[in-house]
């Protein structure tokens, strides 16, 4: 199945949707193709709840040529202006190959959660904080389920509030950041119009869920699923029985596709210029792949990238101050919720670090580079391609999982062979 467009947007979260809307307003009437590997639009924050304008946009409200491909994972570059994706047929069969050619591509691949290992973290029922929210939004029924929310960041409060609204019994929220850091952060919010965090704190308090700061999980136990979690709170360890532990220590940019497309990655983020052009030709990047910034920042960057891709450079430039302000807010978040050093000693030598290949923390420890850990210990060699264990290895041992090789998601050789790259006129064949 082949597609071609003027502007390809990969990722239908806030950044990608804003990019599509901004580009669709261009008098040049570019043809726009939006793709996402999820079944529906919205990305993380708007999962199953994208604003009404997004639905109208994709229905053709702006009288431009815009189409959306769901359940479509972009895998790699096929040439300067083409990518290979795996997708489904309209009846839901697949995966089948799709080749997409474009003039400009906007990467809006967002972020994923940072997980940190502790004994028992691989038990079924230990899920991400945002992960729990995503699963529930996708149909998981948590009515009457006893849950503990742990890790770090304002997301914990949003998630706890959401889980309660869906009938879960949230026993406690354990935030690892120290109370002083949280207080400082809450005060610094005075300078920002969106006092989302204070609002969330209030909501959590009203909802009578205990919010413990300076508290973190040290152990999950159970036979073949989680039954209890132990939370360290100051000099006390509290054991809480639970059905699910929702635990995430913040977010990390999703840069795999950008790396595979040839964009420079620095400090775990995609490198761009002011107007969001990456170091790879014809590739822009917007939203959390450029660094964690929250939904407002993702929306502004999406709009900038959409305008820039459609040739509206001045309007894009006018958004620079708003973007700078949103990024400053993100920096505040970053420093308030930075993981504390105690978290790096939670895993014992026999705690699994790489879940795909069952590599323990002790097995990774001897290596001084990510490459060595991969070759000798098989860390990061499994299906997730280091998406989970890469940031852990960086946090625990300072290894830099900089490299990502095509394809950006695992597909088998038969799929790649059948994709027949030679069929695209004027494009180079599959590299590597």
């Amino acid at each position: 199945m082949d597609h071609s467009c003027d502007i390809l947007i990969i990722g239908a979260g806030p950044a990608g949707l804003h990019a599509a809307r901004a580009a669709s307003r261009s008098t040049r009437r570019p043809s726009i193709l939006l793709v996402d590997e999820n079944p529906s639009i919205g990305g993380q924050i708007w999962r199953r709840g994208a604003p009404a304008w997004a639905g109208r946009l994709l229905a053709g409200a702006n009288a431009c040529s815009i189409s959306y491909l769901s359940s479509t994972t972009v895998l790699q570059r096929l040439g300067p202006r083409a990518v290979l994706a795996s997708t489904l047929t309209p009846s839901g069969r697949g995966p089948i190959a799709a080749r997409i050619t474009f003039d400009t591509v906007i990467l809006a691949t967002g972020a994923r959660e940072l997980f940190l290992p502790f004994p028992g973290w691989t038990l079924p029922g230990v899920v991400g904080a945002g992960g729990a929210q995503a699963l529930v939004k996708s149909g998981l029924d948590v009515t009457g389920k006893r849950m503990v929310v742990a890790g770090s960041g304002p997301l914990l409060l949003a998630v706890a509030g959401f889980l309660r609204s869906r009938g879960a019994l949230v026993a406690a929220i354990a935030e690892q950041a120290p109370p002083a850091a949280i207080r400082r952060f809450a005060l610094s919010l005075a300078g920002y119009p969106t006092k989302a965090f204070q609002g969330l704190m209030l909501r959590a308090r009203l909802a009578s869920v205990p919010y413990w700061t300076g508290a973190w999980p040290i152990r999950a136990t159970g036979t073949d699923r989680i039954e209890r979690v132990t939370i360290r709170r100051g000099d006390r360890d509290v054991e809480i029985p639970c059905d699910l532990l929702a635990c995430g220590f913040g977010l990390v940019p999703s840069i795999h596709l950008a790396a595979v497309m040839g964009c420079e990655i620095r400090d775990g983020r995609v490198v761009t210029d002011d107007l969001l052009t990456t170091t790879a030709p014809h590739v822009l990047c917007a939203g959390e792949a450029n660094g964690i910034g929250g939904v407002e920042c993702a929306a502004i960057e999406g709009e900038m990238a959409g305008l820039a891709a459609a040739g509206m450079i001045d309007p894009a430039r006018r958004l620079l101050p708003a973007r700078a302000r949103a990024r400053r807010f993100a920096a505040l978040l970053d420093s308030a919720f930075a993981p504390r050093s105690e978290l790096s000693s939670l895993a014992s030598p026999d705690t699994i670090l790489c879940r795909c290949e069952d590599v323990t923390t002790g097995e990774v420890k001897p290596y001084t580079t990510w490459r060595e850990a991969k070759i000798h210990a098989r860390c990061g060699m499994g299906s997730c391609q280091g998406r989970v264990c890469g940031p852990i290895a960086r946090y625990l041992f300072g290894l830099d999982p900089g490299d990502a090789r095509p394809p950006a998601a695992p597909v088998d050789v038969a799929f790649l062979a059948a994709a027949d790259p030679g069929a695209i006129p004027g494009e180079s064949p599959l590299s590597e």
Binding site: P39, S71, E113, G128, G130, A134, L135, L140, D224, C356
Partner: protein
């Protein structure tokens, strides 16, 4: 109210609200492992967004499908891997179907 669909999980019919992902259907009768890790330990969904690959199952004969990224459809055949069967996920599953 959205309708319901029936998926077949390990030969057992399971009814879920339409629009639910396979990952949600798998836990609709309680949290449990849905694949065996390389060492045979039970594993199940973690990230809920397609990055961790822990929720992989066999869907309509296609191995290694991320259950959190696939919406249930009527009659869909889902197969999980029991724990303590180390190596099985690499050796015994049918290969991925070639593209149509």
């Amino acid at each position: 109210m959205p309708g319901q669909v029936t998926v077949i999980i390990n030969n057992e019919p399971v009814r879920v609200e339409s629009g639910s992902t396979v990952a949600a259907a798998l836990w609709s009768r309680g949290v449990r492992g849905t694949r065996a890790s390389v060492l045979g330990h039970p594993r199940a969904a973690v990230c809920g967004m397609g990055t961790c690959y822990e929720c992989r199952v066999v869907i309509n004969g296609v191995a290694h499908e991320r259950s959190c990224m696939v919406e249930c459809r009527d009659g869909m055949m889902v197969r999980t891997t029991p724990p303590a069967s180390a190596g099985c996920e690499h050796d015994n599953l049918p290969p991925r179907l070639p593209p149509a």
